[in-house]
Every structure is written in structure tokens, then in C-alpha cells.
């Protein structure tokens, strides 16, 4: 926002409340109410306003309190933002960022816990990013804002509170990460585990557990869901020959399904075992704490899946 005066932030509670999750703390004081706008509770309306402003030369950042509320505005994200550059044959580009927390939090119930990565990644014309660490968040958000196309930026509420070590390079004011490139968080040679957002942390923990049992897991932080870094995933699978995909969302037609198909298309001969898919349970998120734990992937599930891919005997059912 300091580099480009045409960047502005709009959303519910981003100004005086300092952000529903305090993400935009201090921005109102620094940039004033003209550039940090508190909106009424009108997702369809203000998302459309953001898209119209982007049509006409500004660079809005539209915050959804959670991506569940983006469903009220999804017509604008898809029909007027994603498709416009195509429909106008390049005349109208839409440099807009839609950001907010995505996926399950703790005990918030079914209507506040859905993961929208698969929904938005399905649409041509959108770029979909999912940061994990602080470095990802900083670099990808800057890239998203500078990008001339609509970007859906899926954050995670529980990750807001986590701290990550960062290098000095990350703290540079122009630090940017490329869109469309995944990161190998941990090198390995026995099995590839792909994940994004909060699940990267779980995958790293699982990799530690697996290492103690002699299985060296390679963890890929996808970072970019659309475009998917097919090259990195396939290169990794060709090295390890086994794949476990991890995601928090519902399993049917999800990210894991797409990654599996990508590997089948490009590296089928290299697979030594069927691709394992870990996803959330195929039910709306329950409220009770123990049921919620069962509905979301846990570290144990990832460990078991990796072992299955390596042909160790493990029970199939999850234990609470």
C-alpha cells in the first residue's frame, strides 16, 4: 500500500476494528479512511464494487471475514472478475486480490469451516494461492497485489497465531515470491507428501515421525493451487515413486484428486504404489470437539497413509 497509491483495502471490520483477525491492524491510522474502507455487510455489493474499481484502474484488496462468506459474492469473483479479461479480449484486466481465512478453525461449526481451494481452483481466469509460513504470506501477498489478474488468497485462521523464523531477505521491502511455484519444505527420498496451508505443518510433523521409523518423506508446500506446480510435483514423484496428497477440504473433486491425475498423466510409469489421498471427512464440519478432530486430517492419518504407500501394514480406520 505504501508503494502504490492505487492499492486500497476494503472489507468488514478492516478499519476501526483493526481487522476481524487483526490482520489490518494500524492500517487505518497509517493510510486513512479513504484507503482502508469499512464496508457494510454486503458481500455481493462490495465485492462487485471492488471488481468495478479494478476494471477502472485501481488495485483493490477485498477481504472476506472468512471465505465462507465469499459464497455470497462468488458471482462477482467468477463472472465479473475471472472471466472479464477473456470476455473483453484483453481490454479489461482485473488486478484484484480476494483474501481472507479459509478452512476449519476451532469449533466454529459447519458454516464457518469449509475449504474453498477446490472451488476457486476450478475456474480459469483466477489465480489461487495458499500460504503456509510467514515467508509465504509476505511474498505471495505482495505478488498477488502486484499481479494484474484476479487472485484468491486463502489464508488460515489458526496459522495467524503461529510464528515462523524468517531470513533477512524475506524482510526486504520488495520481497516477492513467484506465483505458480511450489516449495520443497523438506527433502526426502521415499515418499512425497504434498500439502498446502495448515496441512504443511502437519505434514512436517508427520515427516519427523516417519524419519524415526526409517521413512524419508519429501514434503512439498504447494503455495500455488492455481496454477498448480505440476513440474515440481512430478519431479518429486519421479524421485520417490510414492505420493500422499493432504488437504483439509472435502475429498470429492478436491485438490488431491487433481494432483493424482496430474501424476497419472505425466509420471504413471514411475509410481510404485497407488496415490494416497488424505482429506477432510465427507461431512459438514461437526461442532463437538472430538467429532471435529475426526473430521479434519491429523498427523497420525498422514503417517499411516505414508506407511501404506510404503507397503507397511497399518489399520485403515482412524482412531479418535
Amino acid at each position: 500500500m505504501s508503494a502504490d497509491p492505487s492499492v486500497f483495502l476494503m472489507g468488514e471490520e478492516v478499519g476501526e476494528y483493526q481487522g476481524a483477525y487483526k490482520i489490518s491492524k494500524g492500517l487505518l491510522d497509517k493510510y486513512g479512511p479513504d484507503r482502508v474502507l469499512d464496508t457494510p455487510i454486503t458481500e455481493a455489493g462490495f465485492t462487485g464494487i471492488g471488481v468495478g474499481a479494478a476494471y477502472h484502474g485501481l488495485r483493490p484488496i477485498v477481504e472476506f471475514m472468512t471465505f465462507n462468506f465469499s459464497m455470497q459474492a462468488i458471482d462477482h469473483i467468477i463472472n465479473s472478475a475471472a472471466k472479464s479479461n477473456y470476455m473483453s479480449a484483453g481490454q479489461i484486466s482485473v488486478p484484484i486480490v480476494f483474501r481472507g481465512p479459509n478452512g476449519a478453525a476451532a469449533g466454529v461449526g459447519a458454516q464457518h469451516s469449509q475449504c474453498y481451494a477446490a472451488w476457486y481452483a476450478h475456474v480459469p481466469g483466477l489465480k489461487v494461492l495458499a500460504p503456509y509460513s510467514a515467508e509465504d504470506a509476505r511474498g505471495l501477498l505482495k505478488a498477488a497485489i502486484r499481479d494484474p489478474d484476479p487472485v484468491v488468497f486463502l489464508e488460515n485462521e489458526l496459522l495467524y497465531g503461529e510464528s515462523f523464523p524468517v531470513s533477512a531477505e524475506v524482510l526486504d521491502s520488495s520481497f516477492c515470491l513467484p506465483i505458480g511455484k511450489a516449495k520443497i519444505e523438506r527433502q526426502g527420498k521415499d515418499v512425497t507428501i504434498t500439502a498446502f496451508s495448515k496441512m504443511v505443518g502437519y505434514a512436517l510433523q508427520a515427516a519427523d515421525i516417519l524419519a524415526k521409523e526409517g521413512i524419508s518423506a519429501e514434503v512439498i508446500n504447494l503455495r500455488s493451487i492455481r496454477p498448480l506446480d505440476r513440474a515440481a510435483i512430478n519431479a518429486s514423484v519421479r524421485k520417490t515413486n510414492r505420493l500422499v496428497t493432504v488437504e483439509e477440504g472435502f475429498p470429492q473433486h478436491g485438490i488431491g484428486a487433481e494432483i493424482c491425475m496430474s501424476v497419472v498423466e505425466d509420471s504413471f510409469a514411475y509410481l510404485d504404489a497407488p496415490v494416497e489421498r488424505i482429506a477432510g471427512a465427507d461431512v459438514p464440519m461437526p461442532y463437538a470437539a472430538n467429532l471435529e478432530r475426526m473430521a479434519v486430517p491429523q498427523v497420525d492419518d498422514i503417517v499411516r497413509a505414508a506407511k501404506r504407500a510404503c507397503y507397511r501394514t497399518v489399520p485403515m480406520a482412524a482412531t479418535a
Binding site: T42, A44, G45, A54, H56, S93, K181
Partner: protein
């Protein structure tokens, strides 16, 4: 001028002002019932607190046609001819579209604008190049009025590579960046927030980026129909536009039908202009079949927005002569659906007259007054008869092009032969557009995957394939972006 008729005079007092002209009296906080009732009859604000935002009716609603003719404001010859030419272009173009559709040159969904030309011409011809127009799927004529060449629009409809969107948009998605036509949206209500955003951008550029145009703020005009006025996004944007005082005009093209759903069947309160004051902005009703009246209202609303006084809601009573789209059999609007014999109404008014005059004892005194009353009742009855027997011919009689032609000739602004030469010129333009579109090539296969993104590699990867952030100039802020 009777108090009930609409004139070009200032119908909108600035929001802060408490005193207005006779036409816009503020109601004191403890409004007495008599002043409130007076305001109600004048069609003013319903609630005593909404004193400054006016809902104004035009002559059509008040049934005051005789004064309507006298109230037509003066236009110069050049303006009149410009308006005439634009409306004829719209009409001839749409008629040609119908022909081309039935010959198979055009396909898919095509929605024609016949009959509504006065609204498009009246508003858009008063805008600058920098002002924006956002429309719905019925957008061919908005594109033409905004200055997109007829050949580009026709080629786009044929799906050729020379169309304004290279054939990728089609009938419902007309975009033109140089003319600031921001679409063409298939979803009704979708264009309204986008238009509000463009108005927001204009205001932002003026206030935050300090880029001012010479005339004031760049104005955005959003066109949409009566069906859209029941959609949530419409109300959300009325709220936010007034909240942030955006330079936008919401133009409702109320043609009484949303495909086959009559406006009266779909809406709890069919008077759409009254929804403006509910949000604190002026709501105006205007006869959308009369381009001069529309232009007067447009002038006021656009100038107001340019000065930064905020949005206006304008309801234009208009009619589409053809069906919803070229695929619509248009059965629900067949003449005779609500047919009542003229004689019934005549008889009914006669009986009413006799009963009332006998009851009031007027038969003995003031025959002339009672006769005038009878004539007025008969007029009203005939209005109802006409509207109920044949809506289509009622509005066909009010064809905006014929009306303007008549006005131009009567006011001696131009001769009939000059108008005929304009019509001939337009016909040639449209013929040429068809020939151009026919002769244009289809888009090449490679165009299928183009234009999905403005920057396909994403910001992070530069044109040389390397990461932008690895470019040593990047952190200095001088890297090529």
C-alpha cells in the same frame, strides 16, 4: 405549471439544505398532517424525516398529457439531430440484428432494444468519453450510443475476430476500454456493483490520487431493468453509493416485463423510483419514451454527480417492442389478454357520472363543470381501456423516434427531407457493418487460450523465465514489472 407535473426545474435540493423552492419544500420535524398530506399528493418524501430526498413523478403517472407537450424543453438543432440519428441507429441496428439472427448469422442469446432507444440516447449522449457505462445483456444500443462503431458491434455479434471483443464476448458481453463501456453482463444485478465500483474509482482518483478531470468527477451510468430492482445487489449498492456519495446514476429501464414476469406480479411496490429516498437519494420517474424528457433528467442527475453531490435513481417508463430475446415467443404480452370492450367502459363512466352528479346535485348547477368532469373520467377510462386492450399498440403509439421526428418538424428544427437523409445514412452504415462483419475472418484457433490472464506467468516470474525477485534491480524498485 401545475404542481403535479414534472418540469426541468431543480428537483433535487442539495442534501444539506433545509430550504428549497416551492417544488421541494422541507417538512419540519413535527410535520403537521396537512403539510404531510400535501407532500404526499405531490409525490414527495413519505416519511417526515426524509425531507430532502425527493421522489418525483413525471406527467405520465399524473396523467397530465396536455401539459406534457408544452413542457418539452428546447433543444438546439444540432442536439436534436444528434439525438435523432442516435435513436435511428439503435433501431435500424436492432432490426438488422433480428434479420441476421433468423438467417443464422447470429446465434445464442440476442436481446433487442427496440422501443427503449430514448433512454440510451437521452443519457449516454450527454456523457463524455471518460464517463463509464455499465449495462446488462440488452447492451447493443448502449455500446452504439457510447461510440463503439457499428461494424465492431456487428462483427462481435457474428463472432468474428474483428469484433470489439474479438468474438470472445458476444451479444451479452460488450466491452470497450477506449469508450469506457465496462460491459455487458448476463447476470442481472451483476452490473450494478461493478458500476458502483467504477464510480468509486472515479471518486478515489479525484480524492486520493488527486487526478482531477476538467469537468469534475467522471460519472458512471448503470442501466438495468425492472426485474433487477428486486435483487439484493441493487439495494446493497443504493446503500453504499449514497453512503459514500459516489458519482453514479442508477437508471431503471422499466419496461414492465422480465421475460414473461410482469413487473406488477413480481414487485410488492411497483413504483421503483420511491426506493431511492428510502436510502437517502433522490428518486425520479420520467417518461422513457420521450428522449427530451429523459435528457432533461439526465442533465440534472449527471451534473449533480459530477459536482460530487452523490447518486440518483432514475426510473424510466419504457417498453420493449420485441420479446425478451429473439428466442422468446412473447406469448404473455399478446394483445387482447385483458380485453374489455370499449363500450363497457363508456357505459361504466356514463353511469358513474350520472350517479355522482345526481348524488351531488350538480345537475342543477354548473352543467359545464360536470361535463368537464365527465370528459375527464372518459379520458381516464379510455386510458385504462387502451392499456388493458393492447399494451403493445399503446406504447407503439408513443414510439420515441416518431415522437422526436414530429417534434423536430413541428418546431422547425429540420425538414423532413433532412431527417430522411439521416435515416438513409444510418441504413447505409448498418448495411456496411453487416458486409464488414460477413467479410471478417473467424478467430484463429490460437485465440482460444489467449487472454485468460493479463500476465499468464504470474507476477512472480519475469518474461525471461526467471524469478522476478532474483533480479538484482528488483529490490531497488527499478526492475521491469
Amino acid at each position: 405549471m401545475a404542481a403535479t407535473s414534472f418540469t426541468a426545474a431543480k428537483f433535487l435540493a442539495p442534501v444539506a439544505a433545509r430550504s428549497g423552492g416551492e417544488r421541494a419544500p422541507p417538512l419540519p420535524a413535527g410535520a403537521s398532517s396537512s403539510s404531510f398530506a400535501r407532500a404526499m399528493r405531490r409525490g414527495g418524501a413519505h416519511h417526515p424525516r426524509l425531507r430532502t430526498a425527493l421522489a418525483v413523478s413525471s406527467d405520465v403517472l399524473a396523467g397530465n398529457k396536455a401539459q406534457a407537450a408544452a413542457a418539452n424543453p428546447a433543444v438546439t438543432r444540432e442536439e436534436a439531430l444528434e439525438l435523432y440519428e442516435d435513436m435511428v441507429l439503435g433501431r435500424v441496428f436492432e432490426d438488422m440484428c433480428a434479420q441476421m439472427y433468423y438467417r443464422g448469422k447470429m446465434f445464442g442469446f440476442v436481446h433487442l432494444y427496440n422501443g427503449q432507444e430514448a433512454v440510451s440516447t437521452g443519457f449516454i449522449k450527454y456523457l463524455n468519453q471518460a464517463d463509464c457505462v455499465v449495462s446488462t445483456y440488452r447492451d447493443h444500443v448502449h455500446a452504439l450510443s457510447k461510440g463503439v462503431p457499428a461494424r465492431s458491434v456487428m462483427a462481435e455479434l457474428f463472432g468474428k475476430a474483428t469484433g470489439c471483443c474479438r468474438g470472445q464476448g458476444g451479444s451479452m458481453h460488450m466491452f470497450s476500454a477506449p469508450h469506457n463501456l465496462l460491459g455487458g453482463f448476463a447476470f442481472i444485478g451483476e452490473g450494478i456493483p461493478v458500476a458502483t465500483g467504477a464510480a468509486f474509482a472515479a471518486k478515489y482518483r479525484h480524492e486520493v490520487l488527486k487526478q482531477s478531470g476538467p469537468d469534475g468527477l467522471d460519472v458512471t451510468v448503470a442501466f438495468f431493468g425492472d426485474g433487477t430492482c428486486n435483487n439484493g445487489q441493487f439495494f446493497e449498492c443504493l446503500n453504499m453509493a449514497q453512503l459514500w456519495k459516489l458519482p453514479i446514476i442508477f437508471v431503471v429501464e422499466n419496461n414492465l416485463w422480465a421475460i414473461g414476469m410482469s413487473h406488477l406480479r413480481a414487485t410488492s411496490d411497483p413504483e421503483i423510483f420511491k426506493k431511492g429516498p428510502a436510502f437517502g437519494m433522490p428518486g425520479v420517474h420520467v417518461d422513457g419514451m420521450d428522449v427530451l424528457k429523459v435528457r432533461e433528467v439526465a442533465k440534472e442527475a449527471i451534473d449533480r454527480a459530477r459536482r460530487g453531490e452523490g447518486p440518483t435513481l432514475v426510473e424510466c417508463e419504457t417498453y420493449r417492442f420485441r420479446g425478451h430475446s429473439l428466442a422468446d415467443p412473447d406469448e404473455l404480452r399478446k394483445p387482447g389478454k385483458d380485453y374489455f370492450p370499449v363500450s363497457f367502459y363508456f357505459f361504466a363512466s356514463l353511469v358513474k357520472f350520472l350517479v355522482l352528479t345526481r348524488l351531488s346535485g350538480e345537475m342543477e348547477n354548473g352543467i359545464k363543470a360536470s361535463l368537464a368532469k365527465f370528459v375527464a373520467m372518459l379520458k381516464m377510462a379510455s386510458n385504462i381501456v387502451l392499456m388493458k386492450t393492447d399494451e403493445k399498440s399503446h406504447y407503439a403509439a408513443r414510439d420515441p423516434i416518431t415522437a422526436l421526428k414530429k417534434y423536430i418538424i413541428e418546431e422547425n428544427l429540420a425538414t423532413e427531407s433532412e431527417l430522411k437523409s439521416i435515416e438513409k445514412k444510418i441504413e447505409d452504415v448498418v448495411e456496411e457493418a453487416v458486409e464488414f462483419a460477413d467479410a471478417s475472418p473467424h478467430p484463429p484457433r490460437s485465440q482460444l487460450l489467449e487472454n485468460v490472464f493479463a500476465d499468464p506467468k504470474g507476477f512472480g516470474i519475469g518474461p525471461d523465465g526467471k524469478y522476478r525477485c532474483e533480479d538484482p534491480k528488483f529490490t531497488q524498485g527499478t526492475a521491469q514489472v
